[in-house]
Structures are given as C-alpha cells and as structure tokens.
Amino acid sequence: MKAIRVFLLTAWALFLAHSVRAELVIEITQGMDNPTAIAVAPFDWAGAGTPPEDVAQVIENDLARSGQFAPVDRGDMLARPTRQQEIFYRDWRAINSEYLLIGRVSVTDSIQMRIEYELYDVNRQVRILNGYEEGHVRDARMLSHRVADEVYETLTGVRGAFATRLLYVAVERVPGEKSVYRLTMSDSDGARPVVLLESREPLLAPSWSPDAKHIAYVSFETSRPAIFRQELATGAREQLTNFQGLNGSPAWSPDGRRMAMVLSKDGSPDIYVMDLGSKALTRITRHYAIDTEPTWSPDGRSIYFTSDRGGRPQIYRYDMASGNTERVTFEGRYNARARLAQDGRSMVVVHQSDGQFHIALQDLVSKRLFVLTSTDLDESPSIAPNGSMVLYATKSGDRGILAAVSVDGGVKFRLPSREGDVREPAWSPFLPRGQ
C-alpha cells in the first residue's frame, strides 16, 4: 500500500514537473522606437499575508510585452502611492514617466477578489481612467489582464487582448520511444499552462470555437487522423470525423454552427463544411490538386484556403454565395495557411522568399504583401483578436518555439518553452467575463 502511495505521489510530482516545464518564457526581442513611459506602482494589499498575485507586475508585463510601453523600473520609483492623495506628480515627471497607474487589491471570504485601479496623466495632472475588476481569487491573473486591457485601450484606442488565452501543442521527445504530445492552454502571456490532452500519437491543428467554450483539433490516437471537438469546461470530447485519408484543419465558422475542414475521402484533399448540428457535409472544392488549410472570413461569407492547383501553393478565396473561387496571393512561389484579421481587411500567411519561410501580412484591399519576420521556418500564424500581434511557430536551434510580431513588424518577442518543442499556437477570441 505504502509503495503504491509513494508511486502515485511520484507520478503526481512528475506530472507537476511536466506542467512547469511546458511553461513558456517571454523574451522581448524588439520594441517600438518611442514607447510610452508608464509607471505601474505596486498595488496596495488589504489582506492577511502575501497577496495571491503581484497584480501590478502582471499588468506591467502585459504593457511591456505589447512593445508600445516602456514601464518604469520599480527601483527607480521615488514614491509608491496607492491612493490619489498620495500622488505627487513631480515624483513621476522627475523620472520621465508620462502615465501612472495605481491600485488596491482586497479579498473577502478568501474567495472574492477586487482590484481597484486609477490611471493618471502625469503631464496634464488628471485622472483619465478609474475602475475595478471583481472575480474569484483563483482568477487573479485574468483579472489583472483585464485591468491591463482597460489601460491599453485608454492609451492606444485599441481594445486590449491580454485577458485572452493561447492553445498550443507541446512535444516532449523521449529518446528511443514515441514523443509525448500535449495539447496545452495558457494565459496570453504563457502563464498557467494546463494540459488539455496528452497523447503518444500526433496532436495538431488546435482551433477555438467563436465563443471560446469549445476547441477542435486533429488527433492520431486511433492510428489515423480524426477531428475531435472538446468542451473546455467539462473536458467532454466528441469525434467528429473518421474518414479514409486526411481529416484535418478544423475551422469554426464565425456563427459557430459549421466547421470547415479538409478531407481526402473522395480522392484528393478537398475543403468540406460540416453542419455541427446534423453532421451533414457540404463539399466546397472539387479539384485533383491539394486544397487544404481552410479559414473563414470574419463575416462568414468566404472561405480562404491553400491550393497548389496553379503548380505551387497559393491562397484562394471561395465565395459562399456565388460558389466562385479566385486566387488571392501572387507574390512569391509559396503562400499558405491564411488567417484573417478580425476586421477582414488583411490576412497573415506563411510566405517563402529567398528559400526561407517567413510570416507575411497581405492587405486584402491594396493586395500588397509585407514580410513581418526575419526568422526562418516560420509557420502557423495566429492573429490576436484585437489585430495587434501575430503569434507564430518558428525554430531556434533544433527546437520549436513560439514567437510574436506586431502587425506593423515593429515589435517582436519570443516565447520558448523551458523544455521540448512548442508549436501551432492559436490565439483565443475575446473571452466573455468570468471565463
């Protein structure tokens, strides 16, 4: 009995060790030329012992990661105000901080957390934002991200996307054995990784439902590829496809009722749309070439996909109403796996130039293409729901890592895992409060 208990404890410890190892570490590699200086003073803690989370630090890191802000180092602060009457603007002008964020954290009944915050314009000496976030204390980080979202939107005019999540696949190579694949969900900063599914067979193509309550992915657990849907709250899984040949690239329609996918059951890989209620399939493409990697336009009227029907992989657009297909990319020999920005005006693709694979952004109005990255073997681009950053997978040495670049190419950061390979990031939609 004792031996069994020791074994279980060891197994649990190993499991914990794994979840720690899968955690991503953020390294900002390039920021904007003139980032806005902001001081995030440590928040007041009105509770016993140490606070469950350094809320101010989470907010500061979020703002820094956007590349648009240069947070003031805590060591340089001349004061640590937590209330309006404690603010002396000269303390902040002296260290060239343009903005100041202060706040207070309290927890009642050791469950309910409340974060109050106030944002000040140091030069104009006025409060420009104040508010609060409330929720379960275990969601302290998510509440902190929501404060960062409010500050970001106030100062940039763009909705913040810090209170969002990432899906990715972490792979642990085991010498002489099959690799271990872990479908993982984390906060947008890589913190709090949770393994949603572990398998000795490949897991790939994770994607979010528009309400962020479900995910879909491809699993080889049946020794063949199959598309699965999984509910995040319960972990309940449903196998959606089991066709001969490819079963891949699940992509939810914006209304959440249909799923585009690639199947090769009728010979060559083609795009199909499954009605998730009836499970009925509609065939979208009918071509002997490879048609794959479907993605919806935000208005749900088009499906963009990769096809090599012209000899090399390029992006094509299928119009749902007319059934017409047109080619969208023309620059370069290889453009694949498109993802559209939420405003539908641009898309990111994997683009090959000079023999290297980069992430590029194509303006769908002007049709111009901009290469955003200078790393090689870049793939799986995913746009933040506010359109500010593109998360993608690349290689560093012989290891797969995640990296991000702003849509103007000005800001870059890397999110390597502490160990193993990470790949196929999928940025969540905006999350409803409490999720």
């Binding site: 490949p202 590829p225 040949g245 490819l246 690639v262 490879i290 990697e293 990769t306 793939e379 196929e424």
Partner: protein, 177 residues
Amino acid sequence: MKQLTVAGKMLTLLFAAAFLVACSSKGTRDDDAAAEAAARAAAERAAAERAAAERAGSERAEQQRLEEEVARVGNVFYFEFDSSTLTSQAQESLDAHIALLRTNDRTVRLEGHTDERGTREYNMALGERRANTVRDYMVVNGIPSYRIETVSYGEEQPVAYGSGEANWSQNRRVELK
C-alpha cells in the same frame, strides 16, 4: 478292379496333390502382385514426396531469397523536395516488396512523411500524396488495393531532428509497415 481301385486312388491323390500344388502356386502369384503394387505405390509416394519436398525446398529458397532481398532494400522509400514522384531507387526497392507480397496475402500500411519546410497541413497532404504514389505503383503491379492502407503523418514524425538537407532528405519518405 483292385489295381484300378489303387490306381484310382493314386490318381485321386495325384489330382488332389496337383490341385493342392495348383492352389498353393496360385496363392504365391497373388501375394507377389500385391507386394509389387504396394512397392510401386510406395515408390510413387516417395517420388511425389521427394518432388514436393524439392518443390517446397525451392519454394522456401525462393521465399527466402525474396525476404532477403526485401531486408536488403529496407522498408523506407525516399523522395526529392516537394516531390511525390518515385525515384528509380525507390522503385527498385518497391519491386522487391511487391515480389514478396505476391507470394502471400499480407496487408501493408504505407506511412507518408515530409520534411519540416512549409506548413503542417499542406505537408500532411503532401505526405498523403507520397503514400498514394507508392500505393498506386503497387496496385499497378498486381497488389490489390484492399491489402494496402495509407496514412500521412506530414512533418509530425521526423527521423532526423535538426535542419539542413542532410536531415531533411531522411525525413521525406514513405515507410512500409
């Protein structure tokens, strides 16, 4: 009459003896024929067995030769970059497998793989195309398609990690299992 009677008795005896001799001699001839037939049959059986053994032996030898040939060429067929065309070397290796598969009713699984360059789902399709190329070649050469299962792993299961052609060329492959 008495003499005649004696003579008659002698005759009777002679006849009886002759009959007995005749009977006995007839019995010997019948036994010989049966033995000959048995020997002939045994010989035939032995010959058939020898022939069968020889046939089986040569079949075994042929089988062994095919198996050795398959072991020699290996069960991995390599491809050029972004190509699903069989190289002549891959074709030669496949011919060895086809020759062996014609002698049995085994089913095979063809697993298509690519190198890491390009997108994962496109590579999934490319891996399938490679596996299908191998399957089609086998079908054309007499292996019924119901004995062949194909699956693509795309770039998910590299043999060689790391970048550069030396690694990539090992990963662009179809494995016969």
